[in-house]
Amino acid sequence: MTTLAHPGETLSADGLLPSAAPLALIDADGRLTPEAAGELTLPAPGVLRELHRRMVLGRRFDTQATALTRQGRLAVYPSSRGQDACQVGAVLPLRDSDWLFPTYRDSVAVVTRGVPAEDVLALLRGDWHCGYDPYRYRVAPQCTPLATNTLHAVGLAHAARLQAKDQVALVMLGDGATSEGDTHEALNFAGVWKAPVVFLVQNNGYAISVPLAKQTAAPTLAAKGIGYGIPSLLIDGNDAAAVYSAVRVAVDRASAGGGPTLIEAVTYRIEAHTNADDATRYRSSDEVSTWLERDPIARLTAYLSARGLLDDAAAGRLAAEAERLADGVRERMNAESTVDPAELFEHVYAHPTAALERQRAALLAELQEQEPAS
């Protein structure tokens, strides 16, 4: 019989499956990997140095933010320590015109994109929801409802195509978020629309306490791509060179009209889910130690040092830059926040409704009444 298929079914799975093992360019000891790294190419030395620098700065920002939670200066902070290569490698390949769609976990990525640290932390400090202007940096608000941002990214990317703008959207999500229906719908829309979007899954092994084995029975998360006709890459998420190169490939493909790419970056979160979480309840310190040995910064430091691309003086300057960054963050976060109750009624609609005006007036009257009393 003739092959039975509906228009749209190609029946061939060629080229849509990821590699059998995660691709890396620089291994955990800082050496170039002997294996062929598929489509990935080692970034130029200047790029590698910039990846390194941004990781060091990002790490310092991250540890500073964690410290601020202990002092009660931040309501909560979800650290990305250990995922530094993803945070930085995802962002540097993006062009100015491209968009980043981060989650709550991706503060370092947002900082790397150029958003001032204190604007990023407004949310976690409790001053307002999104502290930066998404259009200024082309960074969507950090997204908490899991996986919902994948659809926004696809929509934005498709709108770029409809308007013939050369823009790529990169959306970050976790292993847990891949289980949500929205991720599926986003991958599917992206595949059908050939939208210029890159899905970067940071597979850090856990969704809060739930390990990957309880999250999916898929051989890898990258293997989901074929179900949407989307090419996928499985990479070592602790190798900044691999992350950079993979995102680069994906952005180039998207920009050239080749459609979406799904990237699974295998990595690990060293800290607890947030400062409010107790990770000892669900994972062993041995496991954490193993991953500490795969530190993304250490391996790039080793690589650069061995090649004379980073000497002690440069490392010292970088450390100083990182301290200055941390000082600035501390200083600005130690200042009292100034919030304005009247702002509650702004931004609900383009123009406050009569009812909101009345509610504002009532609140202001109430506050005025209390003032003399206090």
């Binding site: 259009y135 926004h152 409809l162 929205d182 409704t353």
Partner: protein, 346 residues
């Protein structure tokens, strides 16, 4: 669905036409066509809205007239439709999407409540989402289960959304055009039982703005408050009431959120009596807000408690039973009769 929705009529042509009979479906189709013609940023998408023209034919002819980049079919996923609409709006477009039936908007609930409604607020006004979600709602068409829900109350309780519903063809055109032009996200509820009701009208965007109620029939004895598919029923009831000696004022809310306190309060203070009508279940329904709010604002003017005539507190019934469930003119007249008229000994 003839003259007005003709795919070649431009916005100007439509507005200049002489009064002609037009169905609500045709008026909505014209509003979409004219919105697409008037503003390049407008895109129309959803399930079956392209080639087919929608299961109710509201988007008929639009794909062929405006092309596949402006009017297109999507994969079958409502969260996907609303979620991508949000992303498109972020990137400068004005998406007008269709949910095929009211109950099939539920999968998009998180995208609507956590993002569409809140993103302007969350970003301190930097991110506006001028998205319109069209939702055919209500019963009375003999639809099998899940095809006749009235879910407006869910959305009216969600700050950041506008909720609008037309009661007549001319208003369907006007309100939809205004909704498309509105910088806020709008849930646009189309009363499917009235899609084929006709009115002789010139379709025009001018007229009462999207957030105002209108008095459809002035009266002095009692204020009858309705919206969407119940506007026509309320007008019928008002006509019947006249025979029983009640001069009923009928108000078409049009905008469920925000609520037009001014028009409503003025009417109820004048009449001293009011009845709210909707198809949705009464319990914690939208009518509760209307009643509670107007009671607060008009307490000393009220001769009787504001009554609600609504669907029962049950899942929408099967076709052969829906007539028992839906508010009828009789049931509205009954409620009016219970408003403690002089001489009553209630």
């Amino acid at each position: 669905m003839t003259t007005v929705m003709s795919a070649s009529a431009s916005a100007e042509e439509t507005a200049a036409a002489v009064p002609a009979p037009v169905t609500m479906a045709a008026a909505l189709n014209a509003a979409l066509a004219d919105s697409l013609a008037a503003d390049d940023r407008v895109v129309v998408f959803g399930e079956d809205v392209g080639t087919l023209g929608g299961v109710f034919r509201i988007t008929d002819g639009l794909a062929s007239r405006f092309g596949e980049r402006r009017v297109f079919d999507t994969p079958l996923a409502e969260a996907g439709i609303v979620g991508t609409a949000i992303g498109m709006a972020m990137n400068g477009l004005v998406p007008v999407v269709e949910m095929q039936f009211d109950a099939f908007a539920y999968p998009a609930f998180e995208q609507v409540t956590s993002h569409l409604a809140k993103l302007r607020n969350r970003t301190r006004g930097r991110l506006a989402l001028p998205v319109v979600i069209r939702v055919p709602f209500g019963g009375g068409i003999g639809g099998v289960e899940h095809h006749s829900d009235s879910s407006e109350a869910y959305y009216t309780h969600t700050p950041g959304l506008r909720v609008v519903t037309p009661g007549t063809p001319a208003d369907a055109y006007r309100l939809l055009r205004q909704a498309v032009a509105c910088p806020d996200p709008v849930l646009f509820f189309e009363p499917k039982r009235r899609y084929w009701s006709r009115e002789t009208a010139v379709l025009s965007v001018d007229g009462p703005p999207v957030d105002r109620a209108v008095v459809r029939r002035p009266g002095k004895d009692v204020t009858l408050i309705a919206y969407g598919g119940m506007v026509a029923t309320a007008l019928e009831a008002a006509a019947a009431a006249l025979e029983e000696g009640w001069d009923v004022e009928v108000i078409d809310l049009r905008s469920l959120s925000p609520f037009d306190d001014q028009t409503l309060t003025a009417s109820v203070r004048r009449t001293g009596r009011a009845v709210v009508v909707h198809e949705a279940a009464g319990f914690a329904g939208y009518g509760a807000e209307v009643a509670a709010r107007l009671t607060e604002q008009c307490f000393h003017y009220l001769e009787a408690p504001i009554l609600r005539v609504t669907g029962f507190d049950i899942p929408y019934p099967p076709p052969h039973l829906e007539k028992f469930h839906l508010p009828s003119t009789d049931r509205i007249l009954d409620a009016i009769a219970r408003l403690q008229w002089e001489g009553d000994n209630a």
